[in-house]
Each structure stands twice: as C-alpha cells, then as structure tokens.
Symmetry: C2
Subunit: 328 residues, 2 copies
C-alpha cells in the first residue's frame, strides 16, 4: 500500500510538473539594459507566436528608458513586466544571441528561438531551434519579415513600436548598419501605424533619447551598456546617443568616475561612446589596462583618455569588430 501511494505521489507530481510546463507560456525576452528594439521586439514576437497558436508573453530584463517610455506611450503599448529569471521555461530571445546579454539562468531554460541582427554570440542548444538572424539595421525589420512569412497582420500599435525601433536603431537611417530593407519596412510600418511624418517621429524619439536630466552618471553609463568576452578579456562598451554633445558636457567628469567604478568589476577595458546624431560622430572615452589595444582597434590616438571619431555612430559595425580583432 505504501509503495502504491508513493507511486501515486510520483505520478501526481509528474502530472503537475508536466502540466505546469505545458501551461506556462513561452517567454520572449530582449537583452539586458533593454533599448526600444529589445522591448518592442519582445512584444511583437509574443503577439505573433500567440496568433500562431503558441501562447507567449513578453518580459524585459529592466525598466524602459525614457526613449522607450515615450514610444510605448505614443503607441499605447504596455511595458513588459521586468523578470530576470527564466529557468525551466521555454524562451525566445530577441535582439541578442549571446549568454552575457541573456538572462543569467538561460542555461537552465529551453531556448526555442531567436531573432537578432548582431554578431553570433556562441549559443548552443540541445535541439534544433528557429533562428532569424540577418545583417539588417534592427530586429524590428526581421520581425516584420516573420509576420509576412506567417501571414499574420501587424496590429497598428505594434507597427508603431517596430517603426520606432527601426528609427532608433538606425539613427533615422544615418547609421551604416542601415539596409534598403530597413527603409522599405519602415515605410510599410508607418502606413500600418498611421504615422504620416517619419522624420518628425524620429526627432521626437531622439529628443526623448537625449533626456539625461535626473539620471545618475552610473545610470546613464548602464543605460545602453554591453559587456563582451574578447579572447578571455572582459570588455564593456556603453553608448549614449544625443542631438548635441553639449547636453552631456556638465556630466563628463562624473561619467569617467562611473567608468572607473564599473571597470573595477573585472573589466580589462570600459569604453563610452558619446554619439552626436546630428554631427554624425562619436566622442569616445576609454579606460583600459592596455590603451594601446584600444588605439589599435580605433585606429586613433587617445588624448587624456578620449578621442573624437568623425563618421562613427555604430557600436556594432564601427567599434566592436575592430576591438574583436585587436584583442585576438
């Protein structure tokens, strides 16, 4: 009798676990320090999957930035709940494809898919998954393709969010990451979203992006901070995009101090890109155990730890590849 009851308990436990797993919706999550693309892409993929019969919910690894808040309000979208653990769940990654930027317990979850437009980050899975990875300017552009392949209409609000993500990621099509598909997709999304003036929306987004008041230097530094493992060395690259570098002038000393605090956390190098969208260039600040490597990567000399890089606006395309190479 005891054996039977223990067997019954086991079966009941297995059933509960099984049902819990099956009933738990798939989680769709963007990278740490989420930007507009990470947040909106999670919302857009969760909606698409749910429409296709797989219940999915968006989550975020952090609060929306002022820019993202503006976009969510403008298009009446709800910020995904902040959740940083995914163990035991089915997970769909958006806007990243590497472990450092994913939830820390990702290895205890089941990756079922990903959308990304960055360099491949070395994820492994036990089973085949779906990966939509293309060298375009924004995950939103790829997700528009996914909706088209699945023949699912993009709701007006989500189209507005995806359009905003494209404008933000491509710096209003000025970034060298921009492809013709980003432009045509943005035009289609604008029609769906009822946006007549794409340029005007872009300016509003970049005004929101440039609102640094009331945020601490460390908060700014971490707002769009990405950590990389480069040949065994920990390298962090933050980026702040703004309409005018003057907006951040009073904070530069505090920002450099914050870089130092961050670097103490085992970093070989911490870089900060202060990108002027209008002048189309970046004032790059660096703290490094070996400034020579950074200078080789940039092809430029640092003076008092910083240098103006005309034409450089893309971390992914104009800064990271050089760093990867210099660190090899």
């Amino acid at each position: 009798m005891k054996r039977f009851s223990s067997w019954l308990q086991t079966v009941a436990f297995a059933l509960v676990c099984g049902f819990a797993f099956a009933a738990d919706p798939m989680l769709v999550v963007g990278h740490k320090n989420p930007d507009t693309d990470a947040i909106v892409s999670a919302i857009a993929v969760a909606h698409l999957k749910t429409q296709m019969g797989v219940t999915a919910v968006p989550i975020a690894q952090g609060q929306p930035t002022p820019e993202t808040k503006y976009v969510l309000e403008r298009f009446q979208l709800t910020a995904p709940p902040v959740q940083t653990t995914v163990a035991g769940r089915q997970v769909f990654l958006v806007d990243h494809s590497d472990y450092p930027q994913a939830p820390d317990d990702l290895t205890k979850a089941e990756i079922v898919g990903m959308v990304d437009h960055h360099k491949l980050g070395g994820l492994t899975t036990d089973k085949p998954i779906e990966a939509w990875v293309f060298p375009v300017g924004c995950s939103g552009t790829i997700i528009a393709r996914m909706y088209a392949v699945a023949d699912v209409p993009i709701p007006q609000s989500i189209a507005g969010g995806m359009l905003s993500a494209i404008l933000s990621d491509t710096l209003m099509f000025k970034s060298p990451t921009t492809t013709p598909e980003d432009r045509t997709t943005a035009a289609k999304l604008a029609m769906l979203a009822g946006v007549d003036d794409i340029q005007a929306l872009g300016m509003k987004i970049f005004e929101a992006k440039s609102q640094f008041k009331g945020i601490s230097a460390m908060g700014l530094l971490k707002q769009d901070f990405k950590a990389f493992n480069m040949s065994g060395r920990k390298v962090g690259v933050a980026q702040l995009e703004m309409m005018d570098l003057g907006m951040v002038s009073p904070m530069k000393n505090d920002l450099r101090k914050a870089m130092g605090e961050l670097k103490a956390d085992g970093y070989h190098s911490v870089l900060l890109m202060l990108t002027d969208i209008m002048k189309e260039g970046t004032e790059l600040h660096a703290l490094s155990d070996d400034a020579g490597i950074v200078e080789t990567a940039l092809g430029a000399k640092l003076q008092s730890g910083s240098v103006w890089l005309p034409g450089v606006v893309s971390r992914k395309k104009q800064v990271i590849p050089g760093l990867e190479k210099a660190f090899k």
Copy 2:
C-alpha cells in the same frame, strides 16, 4: 628613396591582398562526411548567391556517398570539388552550425552566413551574419524558402537535388523531424524537377543508400559520422540507413572492431545506429567508457553492447538530445 620604395611595396602588397580577397568567390560548404543534403545545399546556395550578385562556389569536405552520386547523376549535377581549407576566405556554411563539423581552419575564415536545421553549435562571429536556421527536416526546405524570399527561380536540376535531399533526410517523410513545410516544399520541387513519382525516386535513393558492397567497415562507419563535444566529453554517433538490416549482418563484427579503432582517438563513447527504414527502428551499437550514461540517454538497456530501438530513426531528434542531457 628607400623609405618611398618600401612604402610602395606595402601599398602594392595591400592592393594585391585586397584584390585577391575581393576577387576570390565566396565558398559554400557543408559538413564533414557530407551527405546528400550537405552536397546539394552547397550547390543550391552557391547558385542562389551568384544569381543575387555575390559570386560563390560550392565545395565539399569529402567525396559524395553512393547515394549522393546517384542523385547527382540522375539530375545532371556536378559534384563540388573536395576542399578542406577555407582560411582567408568568405564562407557560407550549409547543413551544420558548429566548429567540429566545419572545416578545421574555419576560425581563420570569415563566416558570412549559414543555413541549418540542427541544434545550434556555438559559432561566434565578429560581424553580423545571415543565419537561416529552422527546425524543419532538411536544409533543402530552408533553401527553397531563401529562393522564394529572393524571388530567384530554382533551376530544374537543383530542384531535383533539393527534392532528393528532403527525401533522404526525412526518410521519405517517415522521420519525426518531418514538418508540413518539408512535404509541401518537396511537392513544389518535384514539379520544378519534372519528377512525377516522388515515392519511386525515394526508393531509388534508399536503394543507393543501402549499397554497402565494396566499402570497408571503417568506410561505412565514417560515411555519416558526427562528432560532438558533450560537456567536455568527445562523443561520436554514426548512422547507416538501409532498407533491411540483413544487408549489414555479415559486417557487424567488422563494424564493432572499427568502432573500437575509432574510439581510441580520444572518444568517451562511439555509437552506431543501424536504422531500418522499412521497419522504422534502429539497432544501436555502443562502445563507451560509461555504458550507464548511454543507457540513461536511450532509456534502454544494452545487451552485448547493442539494443533494438523501435520507432527510433532520427539521430538528431531521438538520440542526440538524450545524450546531451545524460552527459550534463
């Protein structure tokens, strides 16, 4: 004058290197021990890329198997040249997404894209790439999608090759890896290729697959052998698919001896799947430092080192995931 001439040499050298790199066509390559999907996919993607304006050529990491030879002859396709080095070249991977199955010097090449339908294998890149990875039964199915997105017509001969790859990979739609898209794609490719009877083509392919005469036991073992790194342990899984297990009966002792020789090359476990396509099951043979792990993975007891697994026909879907889990 000396300085000028050395500068001139440097410029000339840079120009030669630059032009050489630009003029070298992109290489499209399938996995080691290429099967029909690996060979045909390389041909199909190279054609597509060339049509899209990027000159590309297919290569292979080995000679075609008897099955692939039959397919190439039937559809008047040319076997890609065997080439195992890719250093300094742009490379597009087909039918795999991991370093062990890729050319050994892949890290010295530039990965620009990949097509795969297997588990993600942990590749990293310095730049964003295009990755077409979907959980379907065959890379050919994904490549048909690529042609559709690019709006490039599939030539009759290549359509025949892709159809054959789908029939081979899905065991004529009997494998659990088969998806509805594999079936509809096969039907479309059959029309393009002028194949009236898909079943008859499938039988011809599997007859060719089952031609083991004149091949050594080691040759058979390596014909479709995949090596995996499972939590630091080297695990190899070979598979032979045939119409009737009787075809391989006289060779079983030699096959087990060959497994032993192969295992001596640092393997923790070497498995051989003898898959009966008609009976839809696999006689699995195992040599392992820890047979218990293999038994846990299979959910079955080995007797004299082998076991009949009814319903098991897919290495990828029915054997590898269990092994990955058991080795964790």
